[in-house]
C-alpha cells in the first residue's frame, strides 16, 4: 500500500504567513524524481521553487495555480505509488494543519465570549487646579470629606493615589508587637527556617521527618503534621462591645495557650500540698553578707537536692517512655511582658546557691529582653513557680510538658506551728506539687515533699 504524505505551504522565514502558488510544474499522478522542481511559490518577498525531497508523485493536487494559501495549508497529497481514491479522501479529511504561528498558546482563549458591554463610566469629578490626584482618589476623598490640599501624594511626581486617601481615612494601626524571637538552633537537617522554628516551639525533633519540599527539604507543613492536632472546639465569637479592646494573641501567647491546654487536657494531674516552716531559711538568708540570693534561689537548690533523693520525680514523659535524668535541670517560671517563660537552671544539684543565684539573674534578664537561646528554655526535668512576690498564699500549677512535676510556692506568712510541743508563730511556706500520675505515684510525690520540707527546715543542708 502506498504511503501518503502531505505537501504543504512552506514557511520561509519568520514573517511568512501565506504564499501564492504561481504554477504547478508536475501534474497529478505524474511520477517525479528527487530534486525535480514541483511548483513555484510566490511570497511577499520572493518567488522560489520547491524541489522534490524524494521520488514520488502527487496523487491529488488541491491547490490551484494562482491561489493564495496560509503557511502549513495542504496543497497536494504526495505518495510513493498509486493510491486508492478512498484512501486519499480519508487522508485529506483527516489532515490537520501544523501550528506555525507565534501566538502564545491560543487554545481556549478563542472560545471566550466577547465581554458584555460595560456600563458607561460615571462622569469623572473635576480635578482641582494645581493638585495632582487620580480621579478615583478624588472621588474617595470627596466621599470621606477629606481635604486633598493637605495630603502628600505617594504616586509618580507626588500625585495623590487612592491608597493615600485610604491611609488618611483609616484609623492608625495599633500593633501588638510580637517582638524578637531567640535564634533557632543550628541543625544539619535540611529544613526551611520556619520548620526549624516550629520544631523548637513544639518540641518536635526534625531528624526523622521526611521532607516534602524541593530536594526533600523539611517544610513548615511537615513539622505541623507531626504535632498532635488538638480537636477544634466550637468557639463563640463575642460581638465587639464598646469599652473592650480586642487584641490578637501573640504567637508566644498562642504557644503558651496550646501547650498548657494540651497539658491540662492530656496529663492526669494530682496535687500534694504541704506547709513548711521557713524561719530558719529566712534567718540563714538574712545572715548573708553582700548580695543576698533570693528565697527562690534557695528553693531551686532545695528542689534539686530533693530530686536527687527521690529520682522518681526527676523525669520527663515521652509517650510510653519515662526519661529519668541524672542531674536536676530546673525550669523556673519567669513573668515577662509578653507572657510566661521558663528558663532552665541546669545541674542545679551540683551548683552552689551563689552560682544558682547568678545564673538565675542572668537568665531572668535575658528572658525579659526576649534574648533567651532555645537551649536555655527547652528541656528541664522539673519546674518551679513562685508567686510569693505577689502575696499569693497558695496555688496549684499546670505541669510543663514533657516534665513530670511542678512545684508551686506561695509567700511566707506568719502562722502558728507546733514546735516541739510549744505553739510558735513563724513564717510558713505553702507548697503544692503537681504530678503526672502516668509516671509519678502519690508515694513518690509524698517522699519528694518530705525531702524538700526537710531541706527547707534544715537549710544548713543546702
Amino acid at each position: 500500500m502506498a504511503t501518503l504524505k502531505a505537501f504543504t505551504m512552506p514557511k520561509w522565514g519568520i514573517e511568512m504567513s501565506e504564499g501564492t502558488i504561481s504554477e504547478w510544474m508536475v501534474g497529478e499522478n505524474e511520477p517525479f524524481t528527487k530534486g525535480a522542481v514541483l511548483t513555484l511559490v510566490e511570497t511577499d518577498k520572493i518567488t522560489n521553487e520547491i524541489e522534490a525531497e524524494a521520488a514520488g508523485r502527487f496523487v491529488r493536487i488541491l491547490a490551484e495555480a494562482g491561489g493564495t494559501y496560509p503557511v502549513g495549508a495542504l496543497l497536494a497529497v504526495l505518495s510513493d505509488g498509486e493510491a486508492a481514491a478512498a484512501d486519499i479522501d480519508a487522508f485529506v479529511a483527516n489532515f490537520k494543519q501544523a501550528d506555525t504561528s507565534f501566538e502564545p498558546d491560543a487554545g481556549a482563549a478563542d472560545a471566550k465570549a466577547p465581554p458584555a458591554a460595560a456600563p458607561p463610566p460615571p462622569a469623572a469629578p473635576e480635578i482641582p487646579a494645581g493638585i495632582a490626584i487620580s480621579p478615583v482618589a478624588l472621588t474617595r476623598a470627596a466621599a470621606a470629606g477629606v481635604d486633598v490640599a493637605t495630603i502628600k501624594g505617594s504616586g509618580p511626581g507626588g500625585r495623590i493615589t487612592a491608597q493615600d486617601i485610604d491611609q488618611v481615612v483609616r484609623p492608625v494601626a495599633s500593633n501588638t508587637l510580637a517582638g524578637p524571637y531567640p535564634l533557632s538552633p543550628d541543625t544539619d537537617v535540611f529544613a526551611s527556617p520556619m520548620a526549624k522554628r516550629l520544631s523548637v516551639l513544639h518540641d518536635v525533633p526534625l531528624a526523622g521527618i521526611s521532607g516534602t519540599g524541593a530536594r526533600g527539604r523539611v517544610r513548615k507543613a511537615d513539622v505541623l503534621a507531626q504535632i498532635q492536632p488538638v480537636a477544634p472546639q466550637a468557639t463563640v465569637v463575642a460581638p465587639p462591645v464598646s469599652g473592650v479592646t480586642v487584641n490578637a494573641m501573640s504567637s508566644m501567647r498562642r504557644t503558651i495557650a496550646r501547650r498548657l491546654t494540651e497539658s491540662k487536657a492530656t496529663i492526669p494531674h494530682f496535687y500534694i500540698r504541704r506547709r513548711v516552716r521557713a524561719d530558719r531559711l529566712l534567718a540563714l538568708r538574712a545572715a548573708v553578707q553582700g548580695q543576698r540570693p533570693s528565697v527562690n534561689d534557695y528553693l531551686i537548690r532545695a528542689c534539686a537536692l530533693a530530686l536527687m533523693e527521690v529520682p522518681q520525680v526527676n523525669i520527663q514523659v515521652h509517650g510510653n517512655d519515662i526519661h529519668r535524668f541524672e542531674s536536676a535541670d530546673i525550669a523556673v517560671a519567669v513573668a515577662t511582658e509578653k507572657g510566661l517563660v521558663t528558663p532552665i537552671v541546669t545541674r542545679a544539684d551540683e551548683r552552689s546557691i551563689v552560682d544558682i543565684s547568678a545564673a538565675m539573674q542572668a537568665l531572668a534578664q535575658r528572658a525579659k529582653a526576649g534574648k533567651l537561646k532555645p537551649e536555655e528554655f527547652t528541656g528541664g526535668s522539673f519546674s518551679l513557680s513562685n508567686l510569693g512576690g505577689f502575696g499569693v498564699e497558695q496555688f496549684d500549677a499546670i505541669i510543663n510538658p514533657p516534665q513530670g512535676a511542678i512545684l508551686a510556692v506561695g509567700t511566707a506568712r506568719p502562722e502558728p506551728i507546733d514546735d516541739d510541743g510549744a505553739i510558735r508563730i513563724v513564717p510558713v511556706l505553702h507548697l503544692s506539687l503537681s504530678c503526672d500520675h502516668r509516671a509519678i505515684d502519690g508515694a513518690d510525690g509524698g517522699r519528694f515533699m518530705a525531702a524538700l520540707a526537710n531541706l527547707i527546715e534544715r537549710p544548713e543542708l543546702l
Binding site: 510580637a178 524571637y181 527556617p193 520556619m194 519540599g213
Partner: protein
C-alpha cells in the same frame, strides 16, 4: 572553627579544592599578580588578593593570567568546562559582564539545556561587585538581578566567611555554571569558618535574626546593614525575621513566604536601582503568593534609578543604609 575574613576563606577554599581536584583551573586578569612587570610573577593573587599563592603552588598550567578581555575569559572558561575542566574565572569587576554576555548568557547558561542534558558546564565565575569603595559608576554596580534573570545560571552572594567557604565549595562540586558574586567591601569581614570539608546548599536562606513583626530580606552587604537595624529595633521590642538569601537563583521562596505569612510585613533591601530589581521581583512574588497575609505594602529599600555616583557623599546617599532600612520598617509597621 577558625576565625578568618572572607578574602582568606575564598583563598583557602581555592587552595583546598585545587589540591583535591586537578581539573580545577583559575583564570582571569592578574590572578597571578605581577606578571609582565620587572619584578616578575609574584602570586599575590591580583588586586583583590583572593588568588594569592595559587600560581606558586599549582603553576602556569592551572593559574592563568589573561588579557584584559572579559569575553575571552568567560569564553575560555565555558570551553574548558565543556572539555572536562572545572574553570574558576574571575571578573575583576562584575560591571563588565556586558562584553562577555554572549559567552555567559547564550553559551554557558544554555549548553546543558540545548544539548538535551548530554553535556554539562561546571564553570564558576567569580565576580567582584558592589558600591561603597568610591569606584564610580562603572566599577560599583550590583549585577546580580541581571544574572538572576537568566535561567541556567546559579547566582550566589556570600555575606559571611563561613558562607564564602561553604558556597564556593558547593559551586566547585556542582555541574552547572555558578555566578559567585563577591562584594568588594566585604572581603575584610571576619567570622568563624568551619574546619574541614564544609558545603552550603544553594537555595537555603540564612536566618540572621528572628522576630514576629516584620520580615527583612537582604543579600550581600545589605545583610550587615539590616542586622544593625534589627538590633536597634529589638531594643524597642520590634522583632524582625532577617533572611540572608545566600543565593538569588535558586531563591528560597519558601523561607520568605513562610515568614511573611507570620509577620504580614515585608522590607526588601537591595543594593541596586529599583526597577526590575531583585527587590521588585521578591515584592512581586510576595504580593502574588501571600497577598492575604500582607498588612502593609512590601517596602523596597534600594538605590535610586540612577548610576552610582563617584562623589563619596553622593555614593553614601545612594547606597541603602541602616537608617533607610529602619525608616522602611517603621513605615510598614505604621501602615494603617
Amino acid at each position: 572553627m577558625a576565625i578568618m575574613n572572607i578574602r582568606e576563606a575564598i583563598n583557602r577554599t581555592l587552595h583546598a579544592e585545587m589540591e583535591r581536584d586537578s581539573n580545577i583551573i583559575v583564570l582571569g586578569e592578574d590572578v597571578v599578580g605581577g606578571a609582565g612587570t620587572a619584578g616578575g610573577q609574584e602570586a599575590i593573587g591580583g588586586i583583590w588578593g583572593t588568588t594569592g599563592g595559587l600560581y606558586a603552588k599549582f603553576g602556569a598550567g592551572r593559574v592563568i593570567d589573561t588579557p584584559i578581555s572579559e569575553s575571552a575569559i568567560i569564553g575560555a572558561a565555558a570551553g574548558a568546562a565543556l572539555a572536562g575542566k572545572r574553570p574558576v574565572a574571575e571578573l575583576m569587576f562584575a560591571d563588565f559582564i556586558g562584553v562577555s554576555l554572549d559567552q555567559l548568557w547564550n553559551q554557558m547558561a544554555k549548553f546543558r539545556y540545548m544539548f538535551g542534558g548530554k553535556t554539562k558546564c561546571p564553570a564558576v565565575v567569580r565576580m567582584i561587585y558592589g558600591a561603597g569603595m568610591n569606584a564610580a559608576a562603572q566599577h560599583s554596580q550590583s549585577v546580580y538581578a541581571l544574572l538572576t534573570a537568566m535561567p541556567g545560571l546559579k547566582v550566589v552572594l556570600p555575606a559571611t566567611p563561613a558562607d564564602a567557604k561553604g558556597l564556593l565549595t558547593e559551586a566547585l562540586r556542582g555541574d552547572d555554571p555558578v555566578m559567585f558574586m563577591e562584594h568588594k567591601t566585604l572581603y575584610g569581614v571576619k567570622g568563624e569558618v568551619p574546619d574541614g570539608e564544609y558545603r552550603q546548599r544553594f537555595g537555603e536562606a540564612r536566618v540572621v535574626r528572628e522576630g514576629g513583626d516584620v520580615t527583612i530580606v537582604a543579600c550581600g552587604r545589605m545583610v550587615g546593614f539590616a542586622e544593625k537595624t534589627c538590633d536597634k529595633l529589638a531594643a524597642e521590642g520590634i522583632g524582625a525575621d532577617l533572611l540572608d538569601l545566600r543565593t538569588t537563583s535558586p531563591l528560597d521562596e519558601e523561607a520568605i513566604l513562610d515568614s511573611v505569612e507570620e509577620t504580614g510585613r515585608l522590607v526588601i533591601v537591595d543594593e541596586s536601582p529599583p526597577r526590575c530589581s531583585l527587590a521588585a521581583d521578591i515584592a512581586a512574588i510576595v504580593a502574588s503568593k501571600a497577598f492575604t497575609s500582607l498588612k502593609a505594602p512590601p517596602a523596597m529599600v534600594t538605590g535610586p534609578h540612577s548610576p552610582i555616583p563617584y562623589a563619596r557623599e553622593l555614593e553614601r546617599a545612594w547606597v541603602p543604609s541602616p537608617q533607610k532600612i529602619e525608616d522602611a520598617v517603621r513605615h510598614v509597621l505604621a501602615f494603617r
